[in-house]
Symmetry: C2
Subunit: 244 residues, 2 copies
């Protein structure tokens, strides 16, 4: 049911993940949709501005999609509360900070704050999706999940990773994270980069998490970073009305 709508969404997802604009034929092949059908769907998406054509007439995510997506952030009032904390954190520590939430087996980055003076910024990680169990922000959000929700997310993770062992190790790790009050990641995601994250909790609903990334061997003391992150996350939780 509603095949064409689902197909349109899959096209948007495909193009959003693609490194560069794609041709009609390659889209059709990748998603196993007949060319002619793909043609009419693409025409509709372009007509509405959700897709655009680059200089070589290849399809890419369009301006309207950006506009619509941006409205998601505006409606997430958590972001307004979290951003000031990210700004403070980045100012105090001089490193990049993030806010992320869980979606199934993944963590999705909603916003970030970069330190000044960082010449050209890295490719923006806003909107990025990473397996939750590989990132500090993902693990922090998982660790403070209510029992019932956790099961759901773990099921999604089990479906996504082949190794049974990975999930078992993760479950063990989550207990330790709760005890410590923060999660960390030492170069598991990116070589030489250390991440620390702590949960942002809501009166109801699953937690998000605030995290920072910095190079190992920088002048920062680990304890100083941990304190900053934990404090920022706790402050955000308080402003959001969470009482422990």
């Amino acid at each position: 049911m509603s095949t064409s709508v689902v197909r349109a969404m899959r096209i948007l997802e495909l193009l959003s993940g693609a490194a560069k604009p794609m041709t009609l034929t390659s889209i059709a092949e990748e998603l196993s949709i007949p060319k002619s059908t793909t043609h009419s769907i693409l025409k509709a998406l372009v007509g509405r501005g959700f897709l655009g054509l680059d200089e070589y007439q290849n399809y890419a995510v369009g301006l309207k999609a950006f506009e619509v997506g941006a409205s998601h952030l505006r409606s997430t009032n958590a972001v307004e509360v979290v951003i000031p904390q990210l700004v403070g954190l980045t100012r105090d520590l001089g490193i990049t900070s993030h806010y992320a939430i869980l979606d199934g087996s993944d963590a999705v980055y909603l916003c970030k704050e970069d330190p000044p003076g960082l010449g050209l910024k890295l490719a923006s990680s806003v909107g990025a999706r990473l397996p939750a169990y590989t990132t500090a922000v993902g693990k922090a959000a998982l660790a403070w999940l209510p029992e019932a929700d956790l099961e759901r997310h773990l099921d999604a993770i089990r479906a996504a990773v082949s190794q049974r062992q990975t999930v078992d190790r993760l479950i063990g790790e989550l207990g330790g994270i709760r005890a410590l009050g923060f999660s960390s990641d030492d170069g598991e995601t990116a070589q030489g980069v250390r991440c620390v994250a702590a949960p942002v909790r809501y009166p109801s609903g699953p937690p998000g998490s605030i995290g920072v990334s910095y190079l190992r061997g920088s002048s920062l003391q680990d304890q100083q970073v941990i304190d900053g992150v934990v404090r920022a996350a706790r402050r955000a939780s308080e402003v959001l009305g969470y009482r422990d």
Copy 2:
């Protein structure tokens, strides 16, 4: 052709502009789509994560839409060049700066930089769409448009505004803007707020524009602001490979 895809997009646009989540019935009524059809389209959109349900089972733009939209920014390499200029501008002047591009009769804000210390930020204007002729950024982008493109955009504006006079005045204004090298807006959009903008030009394709907003009567000298904005926009243009 492809009615359901177009309808799905219209639903996304509607919800992105809505102040709060909507019910199935209100969506169906607003867009004149039969309830049953709306039902199946909504189910498809929710299933793919492009829409989500809030606590009262009302529909709102979902996480996947945000994710897809964010990828538009990543693919717009202009943004990487422009952001450092916005950061510098905001640091030097202590006021909010923006980057916007034209889309038909509107200007759409792609990114912004807020000054530090601004307690709670205003509702983020990223992704916002305003009539181009009412904003400094919009007028700056229009003023440096190639002749052929300008006609197209003016047609769109003519279609959007009822007053013939408004467009004629705008056309006159554009000449002055080109001569000065920047556009401005004194409280036309928001009471007491002054905006100044200058074009970011590309080797090929239509220009975007960098702009700032500040309160009239602040300690800033207008000339100082103008110089900063013009310089930032010119630097961005140079990095992008534009030669005049």
